[in-house]
Symmetry: C2
Subunit: 417 residues, 2 copies
């Protein structure tokens, strides 16, 4: 059984030699032959280059360190297979062996991991999402449309009572999901304990009165996994059902630890991810990287959206959406995609059409809901209306003719976004 | 009290506007003004741009996504201060707030975090190194020269008994430190438990006979912190005193968890780091990134060396050496620098002279020791002789005249390295 990775190699030299070097360095290789290296041993663990597919040359090197006289870099995609026995099923071993060292190889001018195929041996080894799409729908009671969410803003600075006041208004708006900004964890002006104590009674009171329990994602991330679990327990004991985890900041260890003990839906914010993917010749495709985090147990995965305020192009979001909703082993390991950043409903039609005409997502609007001219309730209505229009293939402008909230959103947010 | 970061900004637009955008986005900002944003609140948590120092324009963008007609990117270093209250002392909050989101900002064509100054409030919050230089010297009994280490090769594939046989030879060589290759953790052909059981009796037997306890760093990394602690305990209970941790693979959570409970010197391998630093316009300077890991408790920090087989230039190693040996708060938070990759003694003089004429390091030679023509013992002698020559300011060639092991190393490794 093999673990297969695809690397996009860029080098002024030979792409074949670089592919062989990856295979050698990341399994049995060293800089001089040493005693004890036998053919039998190599067969046990050596990685093999399965295929090399040439790509057009790169006009300039991704890493600007090419030797003098080498402006042009050759490129190719190389499939390299690692024997399962060489790595096993530990994700930190996989990351170390098949990925960790490769970016240090001299003579490359760019390297990107663009695919990863895990063998059956990984099935069932990791917990995967505990809630995912089905669990998130059940917890929110929203089945026939996207789960609509919003974010408490400003990102930082509100005290627990100030946050709770805003949350009280947002709950009344009919929104399904509210989250702390990912930058809000447990600072001195808003300790998580106090924030939970201020917010959860409002959530539970609203549930008591209406039957609708708004899912609130509290920022529980902490460097220390023990402390993160205490944060988790605070939320769970207060009746909460969701938490924001900053997966890159806590790392695979933090994520594995919390998932093992978690009773909350884990909403992953991937801040820091861009540095690993923004340069197209360096780093990772999301398709690869998200596999680690889904196996570790991400329930809801933030993946930007259409027309975001960030650098990421729409096409990249569409691919990410496909990635997190494509089973690794079966559908239970899919994460709920979360579309966010600058969303207000205007992107609903394109989101719907480019992601396979599905409403199985969490659609997250910050200012698009709370800054609606008619207030947050009108903002939520407008977003729901935009999705109704998208599903019915009715242009937003047409649908807005007898949906005044959507009309107001179009007027306010529809220009220049 | 403030946390100050320095960002090297690259943009076809205004560097001042981008600096302001970092400060705003990473604290109070959002894409449209929202209710509840007051001046008082902003004062509580808003980041401030302290200084902007222009740099020469970049001839081409680091991220190749500049808008059409913008080939030239302006550059500057910007110091931005975050109020301590906005972040607190949690490193995952620091990473999320001051670093995480910045790489996503549209309109940048490059961004690198080049400095981080932590305030006094961080003093004593994290455990820092448990052993570091002093502890590593005490455990190895080596005081008056570099601790000389070697690595069991090939990286992958040896069964525990095969590894133990090699280790038995290496112990006899007089080496001070031996480590598993960072890619070796606990695969099916060499479960850690069996490897420890095969190796530690040899270490302890040698100690019994000679009084010299060779420090062996076992690969204990695992995605699951609980499992990593079980690995740690195996090593500790068998009389071991050191472990290799793949810090990027386990993440800050894994590192914090193991350090809290650790009785072993933690030898950090930074595989994966290169992707965050190799492009000079993107990512992090090591000076910034290593602060996180030292606070979390790295005792021994691998930082490459002079004339390595990887892409990293010597100057970068020299700066890394300075970084890990410069106190954050006091000398107890310094890590022991580990120079490795392609080392054989030939780099001793330059290493010594460029790092402030110190022998306070772990000098790690793989093939340079085990592939010495006279065997590993001669290899160790040669490396020690190279360091004696370096400290005495005697050219290696001169010193080799009456030091045959060094002469043999020069002959074998001295060409084309």
């Amino acid at each position: 059984m093999m673990i297969t990775l695809t690397y996009r190699i860029e080098t002024p030299g030979s792409v074949d030699a670089m592919a062989e070097k990856i295979a050698s360095d990341q399994s049995t290789g060293t800089f001089v032959p040493v005693p004890g290296e036998t053919q039998e041993l190599k067969a046990r663990v050596a990685a093999r280059v399965l295929a090399i597919r040439p790509l057009p040359d790169a006009p300039s090197p991704s890493w600007p360190e090419a030797p003098a006289g080498h402006g042009i870099s050759h490129r190719a995609e190389a499939d390299i297979a690692f024997p399962l026995d060489a790595i096993g099923t530990d994700l930190s071993a996989l990351m170390t062996i098949a990925v960790g060292g490769i970016f240090s190889i001299r003579g490359m001018t760019g390297l990107r991991v663009v695919d990863l195929k895990l063998p059956e041996a990984y099935r069932g080894v990791y917990p995967g999402p505990q809630f995912g799409l089905a669990g998130s729908r059940k917890l929110t009671g929203v089945y026939d449309r996207p789960i609509i969410g919003t974010i408490v803003k400003p990102a930082l600075g509100l005290r627990p009572q100030e946050t709770a006041e805003l949350v009280g208004e947002l709950i009344q708006s009919g929104v399904d999901f509210i989250k702390d900004d990912e930058k809000l964890m447990s600072p001195v002006y808003s300790p998580l304990k106090e924030r939970v104590a201020a917010i959860m009674p409002k959530i539970l009171d609203h549930e008591q009165k209406t039957g609708k329990k708004v899912m609130y994602a509290f920022g529980i991330s902490h460097t220390d996994p023990d402390e993160m679990m205490r944060n988790h327990d605070l939320v769970l004991k207060a009746g909460g059902n969701c938490a924001v985890v900053n997966i890159n900041s806590i790392g695979m260890g933090g994520m594995a630890f919390v998932r093992k003990r978690s009773g909350l839906a884990l909403h992953a914010h991937r801040n820091g991810w861009d540095v690993l993917t923004r340069h197209p010749g360096i780093g990772f495709d999301f398709k690869v990287w998200q596999q680690f985090w889904r196996l570790l147990g991400v329930d809801q995965f933030q993946i930007n959206g259409i027309g975001v305020k960030y650098w990421e192009p729409d096409e990249s979001f569409v691919e990410s959406f496909k990635a997190v909703t494509t089973p690794l082993f079966d559908t239970s390991d899919c994460a709920l995609p979360v579309a966010g950043s600058g969303q207000w409903g205007g992107q609903a039609p394109e989101t719907y059409h480019r992601t396979g005409r599905t409403t199985d997502l969490l659609y997250l609007c910050g200012g698009g809901i709370v800054s609606h001219p008619g207030g947050p309730a009108a903002g939520v209505h407008a977003v729901q209306q935009a999705w109704q229009a998208a599903v019915a293939d009715i242009p937003l402008e047409t649908y807005a003719e007898d949906h005044p909230e959507l009309a107001a959103s179009l007027k306010k947010f529809g220009k220049g976004e």
